[in-house]
Amino acid sequence: MAEPAVLERPTGWAGRVITLAARQRELTLAGLIVVLAALVALQAPQLLSSSNLAQVTAQASIIGIAAVGQTLVILTRNVDLSVESTIGLVAFVVAEVLAQRMLEPAAAIAFGVGLGLVLGVANGVLVALLNVPSIVATLGTLSIYRGIDFLLAGGKQVTLTDLPPGYTDAARATVVGIPLFFLVAVAIIAAFAVILRQTTFGRQLYAVGSNPEAAAILGIRSRLIVFVAFALCGMLAGVAGVLWGIEFGTINATAATGVVLQVVAACVVGGVNIFGGSGTVVGAGLGALFLGFISNALILLRLSQFWLQAIYGIVILVAVSIDALVTRRLARSTTVRRSFVGAAAAGRARR
């Protein structure tokens, strides 16, 4: 409210850039990734080698897929802190099932995704049905799912040699030169981008998050929407867990510990509003890619890994600050959209 002049119509050059950046969040982020990659490549040309790009995109794809699920949940004004335990549990169970030769790879993968869905459904039941605040519920399942993982795994670890020959080759497989993982992530992101924009469910998801009261008046069944968001988030974490197992080969009970930080960071950097109602899965995916490149750049530039955590923190804080600044500048139009257009055609809000 302090800057009424810019509120009316951002006429200045800077104002226009910021407005554009805000409206084209994904484009801005994509541009940033390119600039970052170019700057780092000047110092460390290996960044652009195909093997390095394959590695960066593989790991960013895993985080990105989990971030898509997290975005669905955050859009409804909730959060799922248990994703890392879901990823870890699914990764271990799938690896173990394969190591024991209990299922064929394809069946094991389907089983893993199904397990993720079940874990997500459990979260959904707690939050949507039993009214447990999502932060409490998923903090609880964060340690419960991890506990189950420990219980199943004990001191065991599944290694590359235990897995069916060729199973982990998928991590480095390419289709017309593009890494398979990246294609999987792109396909998932594209699918959910369409779902969010084109379907009733998608619009209702935005509506529930941006204005619960209006959503209720419009007859949207908020609980069902929230439940489905959690279920899908679990399922996507299951997909991420399967890929995790393929990527790393060695899986023990501590797999993916601490990953929730990266997943939430990817969403925040990608412009998903933690208060719900705005943000896109494309943004979250790009956020994951951006963070992946930063972490890769630190390794290639031979900078101390100790800086990584600090830089992560700064990136999150800067991203969220810029977001707030931009949102304030756009306050008027956004407010209008949110409260009126928001509930009805919320899918379009702030796209």
């Binding site: 959060v79 707690l126 039993l130 009214n131 447990v132 605040p133 932060i135 409490v136 519920a137 903090l139 609880g140 399942t141 964060l142 340690s143 419960i144 991890r146 506990g147 189950i148 420990f150 219980l151 009261e213 209720a216 930080l261 939430v264 960071a265 925040v268 933690i274 208060f275 101390s304 100790f306 800086w307 990584l308 955590q309 600090a310 830089i311 992560y312 923190g313 700064i314 999150i316 804080l317 969220v320 600050s321 707030a324 600044l325 304030r328």
Partner: protein, 335 residues
């Protein structure tokens, strides 16, 4: 107000009963359970968590959250080690560390109140930032060789009693914060802000300043917990405190503090800390595997919210069937 206090008091009584039941289980299970040494051990095991839970409770009651506390513990520990290794005496090092803690809290507070950012995201950011700074300050090595008086304070007990020295930090702090929250205008403002920030603002509460102060308090106390942990470990490392936030938040929520703000008490938090400490001790004495402990704590957290909600819903359904009024939307909160 009195009604609210009376209502909340029940949760504390019940927590107390759980605690008693656990003590009974412990006593029946192991002859060593109530020995002074065991009492000292189980108190010491969770003392830093309990200390950090006190200011966090105030923050949550005021409707915000601080997830960065564990990294502030690490930063305080690393900085104290760095200063000590550089020849700075503890008399100077500890105050410096506490000031850094306050500054860290100020950063959180300014980002939340000044920029209007969500505290969940801000403190996830500083969770990474403070840990990164800790690693940058101290690097890979550990620092030890602290004076005996300092490490005795961390590990020893008050002579002739089973009371660990750090408990003498916790108890006054709990009393002071309890009095502030429950018997002063500051406390009333914290509740008011948590229940309805805009209403509180219109009735003259300086919401932003209050929240800022709470974040500074949280940062300072987390740094203090880091100092105590350094003393108890007799060494400083940058990775100290990892994973602590989960336990601290669990203590606060189990203590009956509403995650959405506006409700909760200090006695509840103190009892919750004791309950978790005894629970961990009982499980360890019973050689229950660590996996089960992690599941039990997570389940306890969820169940403590699920059951009241379920009962509430059943009751609401019963009323509706009897032709009672519909519940207003959102009334089925967490309690």
């Amino acid at each position: 107000m009195t009604a609210a206090v009376a209502r909340l008091a029940r949760w504390e009584i019940l927590l107390g009963l759980v605690l008693l039941a656990l003590l009974g289980v412990g006593q029946a299970m192991s002859a060593v359970f109530l020995t002074p040494r065991n009492v000292a051990n189980l108190t010491a095991a969770l003392i830093e968590v309990a200390i950090m839970a006190l200011p966090l409770a105030l923050i949550v009651i005021a409707g915000e959250i601080d997830l960065s506390v564990e990294s502030m513990v690490g930063l305080a520990c690393a900085l104290l080690g760095f200063l000590w290794a550089a020849g700075v005496p503890l008399e100077a090092g500890i105050p410096i560390v506490l000031v850094v803690g306050a500054l860290g809290g100020l950063l959180n507070g300014v980002l939340v109140t000044g920029f209007g950012l969500p505290s969940l995201v801000v403190t996830i950011g500083t969770l990474a930032l403070f840990r990164g700074l800790a690693l940058v300050v101290l690097g890979p090595q550990g620092v030890s060789g602290f004076p005996d008086a300092f490490t005795t304070f961390g590990f020893g007990t008050v002579p002739g009693t089973p009371i660990p020295w750090p408990a003498l930090v916790f108890l006054p702090l709990a009393v002071i914060l309890g009095v502030v929250l429950h018997a002063t205008w500051i406390g009333r403002q914290i509740y008011a802000v948590g229940k309805n920030a805009s209403a509180a603002r219109f009735s003259g509460v300086r919401v932003l300043r209050l929240k800022l102060a709470l974040f500074v308090l949280s940062g300072t106390i987390a740094a203090l917990a880091g100092v105590i942990l350094t003393a108890r470990f007799a060494s400083a490392r940058a990775d100290v405190g990892q994973g602590m936030t989960l336990t601290v938040v669990t203590v606060v929520l189990l203590g009956g503090v509403n995650i959405f703000g506006g409700r909760g008490t200090i006695p509840g938090v103190v009892l919750a800390a004791l309950t978790l400490a005894v629970l961990g001790n009982v499980l360890r004495l019973g050689n229950v595997s660590a996996e089960i402990q992690s599941i039990a704590i997570g389940a306890l957290l969820v169940v403590s919210v699920v059951i009241p909600n379920l009962a509430h819903q059943v009751q609401a359904l019963y009323r509706r069937v009897r032709g009672g009024r519909h519940l207003p939307a959102g009334a089925v909160g967490t309690g």
